[in-house]
């Protein structure tokens, strides 16, 4: 996976040099973009905090273990580790919630474990379907169900593919 590690420095170098050629003031431009970081975090942090507080409570109460036991046959059948069940379930609803759970899973099982790798791939695949449908079809008189079903099915399919790829790659 050497190529992937080289991708990031090459990307930065390429884009910055290209921008300089196009007479962009790279320093000012970078600072302008970076200024958006704290407002973005300010918007997301309350939700991340709420989900992590809930996740901890969920874990401590033993409900998480119950859920894993209940769902593990179904998840095992499609090749998704049952430990990441909460992530798979929360993903269509909340992006910040998934970020919170991902960090929790990586810390709990070790960043290089199969569980954490599958969690990362599940996190990076697909989007928050229900949230997107609410925003995108907000102007429409009636929110159609078919696109949402299509998106959920294809994302679930992609989670299975991703977890399979994590095991073989």
């Amino acid at each position: 996976m050497k190529w992937a590690a080289m991708l990031v420095p090459l990307l930065f170098l390429g884009v910055f040099l290209f921008a300089a050629l196009r007479r962009v003031k790279v320093y000012d431009s970078f600072a302008e973009g970076a200024a958006g970081a704290l407002p973005l975090l300010k918007n997301l942090f309350p939700y991340i905090a709420a989900v992590l507080v809930l996740a901890e409570l969920f874990e401590a109460s033993g409900l998480s273990a119950c859920l894993q036991t209940a769902l593990s046959p179904a998840f095992a059948a499609v090749g998704i580790p049952p430990e990441i069940a909460p992530l798979v379930l929360i993903k269509p609803f909340s992006g910040s919630g998934s970020t919170a759970l991902l960090a929790d899973l990586c810390a709990r099982y070790g960043a290089d474990s199969t569980i954490a790798r599958c969690a990362c791939v599940v996190y990076a695949t697909g989007d928050t379907v229900f949230y997107l449908s609410a925003v995108w079809y907000a102007g429409a008189p009636k929110r159609p169900a078919l696109p949402v079903v299509i998106a959920l099915v294809s994302n679930l399919f992609a989670f299975c593919v991703g977890c399979l790829l994590c095991r073989i790659l």
């Binding site: 996976m1 992937a4 590690a5 930065f12 884009v15 921008a19 196009r22 790279v26 431009s29 970078f30 302008e32 973009g33 970076a34 958006g36 970081a37 704290l38 942090f45 905090a49 992590l52 507080v53 809930l54 901890e56 409570l57 969920f58 401590a60 109460s61 409900l63 609803f93 909340s94 970020t99 919170a100 991902l102 960090a103 990586c106 960043a111 290089d112 954490a116 790798r117 990362c120 996190y123 990076a124 695949t125 697909g126 989007d127 997107l132 925003v135 995108w136 079809y137 102007g139 696109p147 299509i150 998106a151 099915v153 294809s154 994302n155 399919f157 593919v161 991703g162 790829l165 790659l169």
Partner: protein, 200 residues
């Protein structure tokens, strides 16, 4: 999300009340503490990537890429409406580069503009399906979270993640194509369009 939060919170709290009431507050504080350290990590990620993306945007890279994908989007959304295609292309490109904040406004205006094209329901559903696949060149947040947790090879998820989201894209696009062909009225134009999409 509100209903889920309340239900899970009440259920967990109720269970804990029976099992071990003393563990309630420590669990909440533990969660909040994790949120604070995750927030710091995310702040660093956002500074680096939002800065980078602004430079890319100012250099005209987003517009350039969007122009490049124009022939592809024209087939995908079965229209030649230039304004709608441009908005959709900017949305897709911004998503691919991980610029959620730039992608959403473009996506919303594309949604509106696609509504006045030849096959509005199909085109909107297709744009929605493509967006829900979340194809991204570099999953920057996942990478950062993994590095923070001390991964030795954080980048080994890039390829599986890209392939998995491409499979979501393929599956979503095929299903939309298939299901909306059944629904769409069988006009001559509609048939010609889908034939074209089949070849693509």
């Amino acid at each position: 999300m509100n209903a889920i939060f309340l239900a899970l919170f009440a259920l967990s709290a109720g269970l804990l009340l029976v099992r071990d009431p003393a563990a309630f507050l420590p669990a909440l504080l533990e969660g909040a503490g994790k949120a604070v350290s995750l927030g710091l990590t995310l702040a660093a990620v956002y500074v680096v990537w939002l800065g980078f993306l602004r430079v890319a945007e100012d250099a005209g890279l987003v517009r350039g890429l969007a122009r490049g994908v124009r022939p592809l989007t024209s087939r995908l959304f079965a229209t030649r409406n230039a304004a709608a295609l441009d908005a959709a292309a900017v949305n897709l490109t911004a998503n691919f580069l991980g610029m959620g904040s730039a992608a959403t406004p473009a996506g919303l205006s594309a949604m509106k503009l696609l509504g006045s094209t030849e096959r509005p329901d199909y085109a909107r559903a297709m744009l929605f399906a493509v967006n829900c696949a979340g194809v991204q060149l570099l999953p920057t947040t996942a990478l950062a979270v993994r590095m923070e947790a001390g991964s030795a090879q954080p980048y080994d998820i890039v390829l599986p993640a890209l392939l998995a989201s491409l499979s979501a894209l393929l599956m979503g696009a095929c299903l939309t194509l298939l299901l909306y062909r059944v629904h769409a009225p069988r006009t001559a134009r509609g048939r010609k369009r889908t034939d074209k999409a089949d070849r693509a």
